[in-house]
């Protein structure tokens, strides 16, 4: 094999090891240094050392331990040269000495779950902006480069780099402790974590064909984060609720766009193309969430309710088999727990399916003046659909046209204008 080929094989092996080990290494270092920013820099230095050594020496038998040892050596150098607080210095020295015993593997595995959980809560701390939380989480927990994050979020690399630098600085200045919040604080902080994961998922889910492949890959990263979190905090029902929601939504990935990249509505999707492995996983996660929430005696959380709605669709073999009455009941719960005009709009759709367009239209008209829905193309799109069902075709056409004028997604415009055109009785559309 020529040297450059060996080099690239080694590099892809290093990337793979990095993907598996980086979060654990950053988390372990953060526990020792109590500084997430420093921990990440030390981990990066260890990665550079691996990129230098491994192409020549081959990947070591225990690459995670090698990287951790390299990072610890750099941590020791760092503290020796910087003469930081004595106590911190000793702590590091002690940790490192313990760590260099032959039983290093066990030391590495020990408590690493707790460290990872601390890292998740720190990266998603509400003291930093949501965008920065997302970038920091992808960087620290998924091992993504700034370039990859930038491509995924369609922003310049410099913007992402700046967000991360600022976030690290904010965390340091606010003296955010490296720990898992307890008691009353836990619920609020957990929401902040789940919000970030779902934001990352939705960034990927909203991507369309032809977009950079990094965008759909965000869904996988978010799902992976959710699955990891469900293992780290198995007693938290909301985590399982979010995982269930993402698994079921991801199961429709293959079916929700046509060969030309055009969106296919849920009702028109070929259900045979749904990913039934993910459906099964989603239903299992939902069951876990519901059991935990019931045994805690509380109401279902918003993510669990949304997952339960998604599950109603997942369980229906055809669109006609959908249990719309149950979906209406679940939306009623969601509207009480997390009221929003968008939830209300979705509830109206379910009501129309369960009880007829007359009732659905009344609900939509009640929220039509909501400022949050101004300029939201789905409002006229849904209204048009109800009017069409009621046989008020001229009004329906007007609504579809209005909806088309409100979206910038060319594929959606096409879909809406097609629906409007279909309502011209006897008129032949010249294309």
């Amino acid at each position: 094999m020529d040297p450059s080929a060996t080099h690239s094989v080694a590099n892809s092996a290093i990337e793979a090891v990095w993907r598996i080990e980086s979060a654990k290494i950053v988390a372990g270092l953060a526990r020792m240094t109590r500084d997430v920013g420093l921990a990440e820099e030390l981990a990066q230095e260890a990665l550079l050392a691996a990129l230098e050594k491994w192409p020549g020496s081959g990947v070591p038998d225990n690459p995670g331990a090698w990287l951790m040892a390299a990072a610890k050596n750099r941590a020791l150098d760092h503290f020796r040269h910087n003469k930081l607080i004595e106590a911190k210095h000793e702590e590091i020295g002690r940790e490192a000495e313990e760590g260099f015993t032959p039983d290093f593997d066990a030391a590495l595995e020990h408590d690493i779950g707790d460290d990872l959980l601390r890292l998740v809560f720190t990266a998603c701390h509400p003291v930093i902006s949501t965008e920065a939380r997302a970038a920091l989480t992808l960087r620290l927990l998924c091992g993504l480069t700034t370039d990859e994050i930038a491509r995924a979020f369609l922003v310049p690399e410099a913007t992402v780099a700046q967000r991360i630098v600022r976030a690290k600085r904010t965390l340091a200045e606010a003296r955010v402790p490296f720990e898992v919040p307890r008691g009353d604080e836990l619920a609020a902080r957990l929401s902040s974590v789940l919000e970030v994961i779902y934001l990352v998922f939705n960034e990927g889910y909203s991507a369309t064909a032809g977009d950079d492949w990094m965008r759909p890959a965000l869904c996988e990263d978010a799902l992976r984060l959710g699955r990891i979190l469900a293992e780290l905090a198995p007693g938290e029902p909301e985590v399982h609720g979010l995982v269930a929601l993402m698994e079921i939504q991801a199961s429709r990935f293959r079916a929700r766009t046509g060969p030309l990249g055009e969106p296919i509505l849920l009702m028109d999707q070929d259900r045979a193309r749904w990913d039934h492995l993910l459906v099964r996983r989603g239903l299992a996660a939902l069951e876990r969430a519901e059991d935990l929430e019931r045994s805690a005696g509380g109401a279902l959380s918003p993510y669990t309710l949304q997952a339960a709605i998604a599950a109603c669709h997942a369980r229906a073999r055809t669109h006609a088999e959908t249990d719309w009455k149950r979906i209406v009941a679940l939306y009623d719960g969601l509207a009480q727990l997390a009221p929003s005009p968008v939830v209300e709009l979705n509830r109206a759709v379910a009501v129309t399916m369960a009880y007829g367009a007359e009732e659905g239209l009344a609900l939509v008209d009640a929220i039509a003046a909501e400022p949050a829905l101004r300029g939201y193309h789905l409002l006229p799109s849904v209204r048009g659909d109800f009017l069409m069902k009621l046989g008020r075709l001229d009004e329906a056409r007007g609504e579809f046209e209005r909806a088309a004028s409100l979206t910038r997604n060319t594929r959606e415009i096409r879909l809406l204008l097609d629906r409007a055109a279909a309502l011209h009785p006897g008129l032949r559309v010249v294309k």
Partner: protein, 143 residues
């Protein structure tokens, strides 16, 4: 991308019906599976009874013929599998290398085929739904 990671245990082709791995190996495997779960990469996984409990259907001249296991001609048989969600073949390999296998066992990784991997004509054949076929035809005309 998804990979099926298969284990080919040494001598499993000759294993008696009901043969089971020993408790020590099972314990190690449980620990390994936990690490896959904790890394968020394991979608599913199953162990398989030996071929002596299975059967094969071979096809010749358009006719199926059933042979009960064990299969004398088989040299390597699968003992179990995982489905992993990973970012690269290298990542799947990295997990395969960490499998706690006794000497002589083999772990093989194979990427799952996705719809997008198929060429246009195979995609068309795979698209059972008429509407989808129609759209593909439209797309072909545009080219």
């Amino acid at each position: 991308m998804r990979f099926m990671m298969m284990v080919i245990p040494k001598g499993y082709e000759k294993a008696k019906p009901g043969a089971m791995p020993d408790a020590k190996l099972v314990a190690e495997m449980a620990k390994y599976n936990e690490s896959l779960h904790k890394a968020g990469v394991m979608l599913s996984g199953e162990g398989l009874h030996p071929p002596s409990m299975g059967a094969r259907v071979s096809f010749s001249g358009g006719k199926p013929k059933v042979t009960d296991g064990p299969f004398t001609e088989a040299k390597e048989v699968i003992g179990g599998f995982w489905i992993l969600q990973v970012k690269s073949k290298a990542e799947a390999l990295e997990w395969a290398k960490r499998c706690p296998m006794p000497d002589g066992d083999i772990v093989e990784i194979r990427q799952l085929q996705e719809f997008e991997d198929f060429p246009a004509d195979v995609q068309e054949a795979a698209a059972g739904e008429p509407a989808l076929r129609e759209q593909l035809e439209k797309k072909a005309k545009k080219r």
